[in-house]
């Protein structure tokens, strides 16, 4: 049962014999054998599944299988690869029938799937009925990778938990989704973000970005359905002025249009449309990075469009799913760029924006191995490319976007009635700096988190009782010395379902929590005033919200 040779035809057997390597369902990679085994393993896949030839040189094969080799060498050893030789991958099978089956030269229909387990695993253990053994096997599941029978874009849908891939100096925070995979009749779960390479014929980088994003959203939320590449191309065709197959890539305005066809209300941020100011050293790129950070901190993966500086040459697309830890240098810079209210500059508390702290972002880029942590200025492998557009697939009722939310928050925090200066003066030192952390959250998850983490019983009650829309913008407030431990002293929560025009003011406020006091507004309240003010005794610091992103150390 476990021999591939029994499943294959005679022609393929010949090539296996030539390799002196026999494909098996279970392959253990350890420190002792990984160089040779990985190399033989990749060559066997190439010869049996990708390109049927007996006279291709090893160098050429190595070149074609470079990405797979890299992936296999990156995984922590020892580990076991479980191969499914005949795997139907929905996205590849879809492109096969819409494109590859029409070609003169044969392309195979079946993909393979390699599943990875972070232990030495035998067939007996894998199929064991014993619950403890099953749990052990499931607990060591690292993820899976589809191998498509294509010379370009050999790595198809890949779902691997980043904790097994990333070798980090400092922690990163990423948005993942729990995927269910059925491998030889057994269910396994992995926290991952989809990755795949472009095949350069049906999918270029923008389509790959779309497919990965849509797959993530379909798997995470019931509001969205899963999509195959031909549906993306069909939608593209409706809005494009030329044929879409073979793919030549798409522009970001069309990309956002396609997103809206699949039920999103996307926002498209363009670098050159951001205001420039002669009297500010904050550049358009700084402002675009802030915008990106607000969404990433909100757990909203976004598509990034990179163009060469000067816009000469072709662009690139990738997905951003997380951010790195605070960089000391950038924290210092952010402190120098703190916001101060012009009207109250002599006595207000300056606001330091934590969106300026991270230099690194976690991207899923088909030109690079899965999960890359790269500085914002050099997200792409191509030199001189910078982020020019950000496409944010927002839920249809997230009306308030990040830049407007930031403006409202800034206005409220320095408001003469609701600001920090009014309510935190007894807690903070004179003109003490305050770090702000702005993000969007689902009210259900936020309430649950606050219920479980806030100590003050009355505060818990208020958070649970106050009516909130499905999504809210949250701005947590920290003293500088408490930020590293993410212990907030206050927060304001504003409505994400109203537009900017209604509330460049306190009209968007739902809740304000300052030391020893919480104010709430009910939906009927149209004036900028609180319906209830709850005074709290012993209201200590509380945990910063951590459910939007997973920490990978």
């Amino acid at each position: 049962m476990e021999k591939q040779s029994g499943l294959d035809n005679d022609e393929n057997k010949l090539s296996i014999d030539e390799l002196d390597y026999e494909e098996e369902i279970f392959t253990i990679i350890s420190d002792d054998n990984y160089e040779k085994t990985v190399s033989d393993f990749s060559k066997a896949i190439f010869k049996n599944s990708v390109f049927e030839t007996s006279n291709t040189s090893n160098d050429v094969i190595d070149n074609y299988m470079l990405d797979l080799n890299k992936l296999l060498k990156q995984l922590p050893r020892p580990y076991t690869i479980v191969q499914e030789f005949y795997h139907i991958d929905p996205s590849f099978r879809d492109t096969y029938y819409t494109y590859f089956s029409n070609q003169h030269f044969q392309v195979k229909r079946y993909s393979r799937r390699l599943s990875f387990f972070a232990i030495k695993l035998s067939e007996k253990e894998f199929f064991a009925q014993d619950e403890k053994v099953q749990e052990r096997v499931a607990g060591h599941f690292m993820g899976a990778c589809v191998i498509n029978p294509l010379t370009t874009g050999v790595i198809g849908r890949t779902l691997i938990n980043p904790k097994y891939i990333l070798r980090l100096k400092s922690s990163v925070y990423v948005r993942l989704s729990k995927f269910e995979l059925n491998i030889y009749g057994k269910k396994f779960y992995v926290d991952a973000f989809p990755y795949r390479m472009q095949d350069e014929e049906t999918m270029r980088c923008a389509e790959v970005s779309l497919l990965n994003l849509l797959e993530y959203y379909a798997n995470s939320y019931h509001d969205y359905r899963s999509v195959v590449p031909s549906e993306i191309l069909e939608n593209e065709k409706r809005h494009s002025h030329e044929r879409v197959l073979p793919s030549r890539g798409i522009s970001y305005p069309i990309l956002t249009k396609v997103l809206s066809e699949f039920g999103f209300s996307p926002r498209l941020y363009n670098l050159s449309s951001i205001d420039k100011y002669s009297l500010s050293q904050i550049t358009q790129e700084d402002e675009l990075k802030r915008c990106l950070h607000y969404y990433i901190e909100s757990g909203i993966p976004v598509a990034l469009n990179l163009l060469p500086v000067g816009n000469n040459g072709s662009g690139h697309s990738m997905v951003c799913i997380g951010h790195g830890s605070a960089s000391k240098e950038l924290v210092k810079k952010a402190r120098r760029n703190k916001w101060i209210s012009w009207d109250h500059k002599e006595h207000c508390h300056p606001l330091i924006n934590s969106a300026d702290f991270s230099e690194d972002y976690v991207v899923v880029d088909d030109n690079q191995p899965v999960y890359q942590v790269r500085p914002f200025q050099h997200l792409s492998l191509y030199p001189d490319m910078r982020v020019e557009n950000i496409a944010v697939p927002l839920y249809k009722r997230m009306f308030l976007d990040a830049s407007d939310a930031a403006a409202i928050v800034r206005s409220i925090l320095h408001h003469e009635q609701f600001g920090i200066d009014v309510w935190s003066d007894n807690f903070l030192d004179d003109r003490e700096d305050v770090i702000i952390r702005l993000f969007m959250a689902s009210s259900r998850s936020l309430k649950n988190f606050r219920l479980n983490t806030i100590e003050n019983i009355y505060a818990k009650e208020v958070y649970v009782i106050v009516p909130m829309p499905r999504f809210v913008w949250v701005c947590e407030l920290y003293r500088v010395e408490n930020y590293e431990d993410l212990k907030a002293f206050g927060e304001i929560i504003i409505d994400a379902t109203s537009a900017f025009g209604r509330g460049h003011s306190a009209c968007s406020l739902i809740l304000m929590h300052y030391p020893n006091v919480i104010g709430i507004r009910y939906p009927e309240q149209t004036n900028p005033e609180f319906d209830e003010m709850v005074e709290l005794e012993n209201d200590g610091l509380f945990e910063g919200y951590r459910k939007n992103l997973q920490k990978i150390t």
Binding site: S278, S280, Q281, R336, N337, W339, W342, K345
Partner: protein, 223 residues
């Protein structure tokens, strides 16, 4: 150092204050609209039409203040750049630039003097805001002394930096969070070769010129 969001109206008020603090302010008063246009517009690649439009808006705003037109619009500014604006007004740097442009150095171009002033000032502010810390410090110190020293030697420049006998930096207010001010009251920039490096960098960026006079290197502001 800090970042503010201020309305155009507030910026105008602030600029009026800088004009008041300037000894010979006739040029600033005469070209107030052009200067404000330089501070509030974007004239990438010498966008003269845009400069003319912004000047008209400001002329209108100065004569007939309106909330609708410019008054309630917001602009992002940083304290460090406001400090530079103040220094360049009070030291005569802007004055000198206006005089130079008004004297017809743009002869042959079909560009108005007003738009030329706006674009030239915009270029100055845009170049200065991109300067690194050290370069910015050096340029600010030199600008502060422009009226008395439109040309200066490296020794004169060094003498303007704070030291223990006079531990006050020309360009800092009391809240400045400066990395170079030492506990002793000296400025660490002066102790190192950073000033020389910064001068070279400012020369490379076209903000300063260099001449050799009487066996001494003399730096001048580029016009």
């Amino acid at each position: 150092m800090a970042e503010y969001y201020i309305s155009y109206r507030e910026l105008e008020k602030l600029f009026d204050q800088y004009i008041t603090e300037t000894l010979d302010n006739s040029q600033l008063l005469e070209h107030k609209a052009e200067i404000l246009a330089a501070l509030t517009g974007d004239y990438e690649q010498g966008n003269w039409d845009s400069a003319n439009e912004m000047i008209s808006l400001w002329e209108n705003q100065i004569n007939k203040p309106s909330q609708l037109l410019l008054g309630s619009r917001y602009i992002r500014v940083q304290q460090i750049m406001l400090d530079f604006l103040k220094v360049s007004c009070t030291s005569g740097l802007i004055d000198a630039l206006i005089v130079y442009i008004s004297q017809g150095s743009f002869t042959g171009f079909t560009v108005s003097v007003g738009a030329s002033i706006t674009v030239a000032l915009w270029e100055l502010f845009t170049t200065v805001k991109k300067l690194d810390d050290w370069d910015f410090c050096v340029y600010m110190q030199a600008s502060t002394h422009f009226r008395e020293h439109s040309e200066f030697t490296i020794d004169e420049l060094k003498s303007w930096f704070p030291r223990s006998e006079h531990p006050v930096c020309n360009m800092h207010n009391s809240t400045w969070d400066c990395d170079y001010l030492e506990v002793t009251g000296n400025c660490s920039l002066v102790q190192t070769k950073k000033i020389e490096q910064a001068l070279k960098s400012l020369y490379d960026k076209g903000l300063l010129m260099l001449n050799k006079e009487n066996h001494k290197y003399v730096f001048k502001f580029k016009k």
